[in-house]
Symmetry: C2
Subunit: 158 residues, 2 copies
């Protein structure tokens, strides 16, 4: 079972290490993790995607909430939200394949952010299934390298 948790934390030294340690100590493998700034410079926000048992996760969430540096913790199943991920990929692309790649990028609203004689770098954002589909289509052209941010989620608000 996969869970996405959003934690607002104090932007302090060692907080990430403590939180990551708590998950690994409980046997959760972290699939994705993001820590980034918010509008408030003293606060960071973490999006954590973990796999694990529902009950144990509830315990961990409660333990997180008890940490001094943790301001609040949300399991985003509980709320309507938008989630997105960003991927950058470097493709092999010569004069014979470039046109076809560009065509697929247009369909997916992917942006070409760098061009070289035999390479392209493409930027794509979307939910997980869109990204998976795009990668499947790009694979035959030759993906030299890629990097993904992991999912971030924002509640729709009431």
């Amino acid at each position: 079972m996969r869970h996405t948790i959003i934690a607002s934390v104090e932007n302090k030294f060692g907080v990430l290490a403590r939180i990551a340690g708590m998950f690994s100590g409980r046997g959760f493998n972290i699939d994705n993790l993001n820590v980034g700034p918010t509008m408030n410079p003293s606060m960071s926000r973490m999006t954590i995607v973990v796999r694990g048992d529902d009950k144990v996760l509830e315990q961990v969430t409660r333990q997180l909430e008890k940490l001094v540096d943790v301001i609040d913790v949300k399991d985003i199943r509980d709320e309507e939200h938008v989630d997105r991920e960003l991927v950058l990929l470097r493709l092999r692309a010569g004069s014979e394949t470039r046109a076809e790649i560009i065509q697929i990028c247009e369909i997916f609203r992917a942006k070409i952010v760098d061009v070289q004689p035999a390479k392209l770098i493409v930027e794509l954002t979307g939910a997980e299934d869109k990204i998976a589909q795009f990668l499947e289509l790009m694979e035959p052209f030759g993906i030299e390298d890629l990097i993904r941010t992991g999912k971030v989620a924002l509640a729709r608000g009431k």
Copy 2:
């Protein structure tokens, strides 16, 4: 001084906790951190943005390289690269301000991903300065909440 480090690591239990612990143990505060999947399911990639002294960072990088689970470590100053970040923000937007917000979004190639009677969720990707500019323009409308992935970087390749 800010540094961006890319580390390829084994996708194993506890790796993140060890790496985060090493940075905090050495007095580096992590500004942004991303861990996400790669094409190879047994490998994850981390993008870490830290503030700290050049010399100490070199030591930490060398120590990281010695960890069994770390496959390789790059300081991206050493290579030409593309970097991007993804931001989701929820704005207050009623009928009087919506048109103006949409106009600014078009200029920045930001996407509107959710609309409600008094709110909009906007998705933007770009380098740090573009995102900073956009947030500055959006601030007067009222940013209710936002989440950023933190920077990811991909080498242009030779």
